[in-house]
């Protein structure tokens, strides 16, 4: 069995060298997810030591189909840091991601801290300041996305980047479950879905996150962004692509990946 810090260093090297690494799972046979989260937290500590700042969290594996595929019965979470946030319509530089995929989401911005365990849906809803549409770029430092649950948890829940939409809405105006979403890549609608695809309701995902991170010493703070999970399956994206999520009540969120001609 391998060492936590050594695994974290391998993943940090994958970012630095822009070169995916083989799966960690064979070296951690029999290890629990707590070891995978310790590998994740060791990388976050390295980023923070280098000046990056934790700005929120993402929940992954929120769809049942993906949980079954991974052989798990719950989601996972990763950290979002300041350097992962990109602006709408501003081309995201080449080399930012290794093997990106995109997912449309409804993001929560917290107005109050949430400290699990024991957080109820009522408390979670009360902690939400506002809601915006978002595009999440998931990415993997593991070669060819050959990930098991241990790999993706260790690899910051396959986080990559996030583009937040520019139309904040109040939670009480919305039925998050039946909000429709159309995901378009380069002008073609590739998938459609609704908020309820996320654990039955995106709020369920926030409750799960608050209660899961609390015992690990991870804090959900005012101003933090929570990405609760994707409304559709994830789609591979390539340089030069324009990705749009049209989300009912939230307008359109647009992300642009810099192409070769833009360099």
């Amino acid at each position: 069995m391998s060492d936590v810090q050594e695994a974290a260093d391998r993943l940090l090297a994958a970012y630095r060298d822009r070169a995916p690494i083989p799966p960690l799972t064979p070296d951690f046979a029999g290890a629990g997810l707590d070891a995978a989260y310790r590998i994740q937290q060791a990388q976050v500590a390295a980023w923070v030591a280098a000046g990056d700042v934790v700005k929120g969290h993402k929940v992954g594996l929120a769809a049942q189909a993906i949980q079954r595929q991974m052989g798990v019965n719950q989601p996972d979470f990763g950290h979002l840091t300041a350097s992962m946030f990109h602006l709408e319509h501003a081309p995201i530089p080449r080399g930012t991601f290794l093997q990106p995929r995109v997912e449309p989401e409804i993001a929560f911005i917290l107005g109050r801290p949430l400290r699990g365990p024991g957080v109820t849906l009522a408390e979670a809803a009360r902690a939400v300041d506002f809601v915006v549409g978002a595009l999440e770029f998931v990415d993997s430092r593991i070669a060819d996305w050959q990930i098991g649950i241990f790999d993706t948890v260790a690899d910051n829940a396959s986080s990559g980047g996030v583009v937040l939409g520019s139309r904040p809405r109040r939670l009480e105006e919305l039925d998050l479950r039946t909000i429709g979403c159309n995901l378009t890549i380069n002008g073609e609608v590739v998938a459609t879905g609704a908020g309820g695809a996320v654990l039955g309701s995106p709020l369920n995902s926030l409750v799960w996150l608050a209660n899961t991170v609390g015992p690990l010493g991870v804090r959900l703070e005012p101003g933090h962004v929570v990405l609760p999970g994707s409304m559709t399956r994830a789609f591979d994206v390539t340089p030069g692509s324009t990705i749009e999520a049209r989300i009912a009540g939230f307008g359109t969120v647009t992300a642009v990946l810099q192409g070769e001609a833009d360099e």
Binding site: D175, G180, N182, V189, T192, G193, G196, M231
Partner: protein, 261 residues
């Protein structure tokens, strides 16, 4: 040139009998390799003649193969159109009559009731939407007369686009305040959300599907009549209606529809 012993009339009789006895058969592809789309629609129309002769009444039409994913599966790039009769109406709350069906599956759909007659060819999506009186949610119970849903596009067109039963939803709205391309549905199976989609999954927009249907039927000299119901096509993959299962389609603005097996 038809080198097969099959004709549109014998296909129609065979498929109506398969439906009546709930006994599936295999694709016609091997026995009738050059079965054309025109012959498939002819078989569909002759099956309707049989149904009318025993008292069934046309209440509308349905579209099939409206999603790109399904179109790729059967290697086509357009939907097909088929007949709905009063015998296919399942009253809200009634169980799916499992014994009368072969292997029923449930699909959430956006449905229209026409306020005006639509006559193709040349109908645009804008004209089609203007002819709609009300929009509502629906669940269609599809049922193929081909074993394992293994069929070609001509097979399924001849088979009345796998029509089975349909249930209409409780909320009927005018179309002018709804963006149907973002009208969403959540599909629940025994209380668990298994899928979701929007109206954009239906040939881009349900009104595009309606225009396609008006134009396709126009080729055969049929108009879509005022008062008809139009099932515009499945929004998600179909859910098998295994015994005891209940399936709910919950729409953004169009209420909820539940069927149980």
């Amino acid at each position: 040139m038809n080198n097969s012993s099959w004709t549109p009339a014998s296909v129609a009789e065979t498929l109506v009998r398969a439906a009546d006895t709930a006994q599936p058969r295999s694709s016609f592809a091997e026995e009738w390799p050059d079965f054309t789309e025109a012959e498939a629609y002819r078989a569909q129309d002759l099956a309707l003649v049989i149904r009318r002769a025993r008292g069934e009444r046309v209440v509308g039409i349905k579209l099939g193969v409206t999603s790109r994913a399904k179109q790729r599966q059967v290697n086509v790039d357009t939907p097909n159109v088929a007949w709905l009769t009063d015998a296919m109406l399942l009253p809200a709350g009634e169980p799916v009559p499992a014994g009368e069906l072969i292997h029923p599956r449930a699909e959430p759909e956006i449905a229209f009731r026409l306020g005006r007659t639509l006559r193709g060819p040349g109908v645009t999506a804008a004209e089609a939407l203007a002819a709609v009186d009300r929009v509502f949610g629906a669940i269609e119970i599809i049922d193929s007369r081909f074993s394992g849903y293994a069929f070609t596009m001509t097979d399924v067109t001849a088979d009345n686009a796998s029509s089975g039963r349909f249930v209409t939803g409780p909320v009927h709205l005018p179309t002018d305040t709804l963006d149907l391309s973002l009208e969403a549905v959540l599909v629940g199976v025994d209380g668990e959300i298994v899928d979701s989609a929007t109206g954009a999954a239906v040939y881009g927009h349900p009104a595009e599907a309606l225009a396609f249907a008006a134009n396709k039927l126009g080729e055969r000299g049929h108009a879509l009549e005022a008062g008809w119901i139009v099932l515009t096509g499945g929004m998600t993959d179909a859910v098998p209606m295994t015994p005891g299962r209940h399936v709910t389609a919950e729409f953004t603005h169009l209420g909820s529809v539940t069927v149980r097996a």
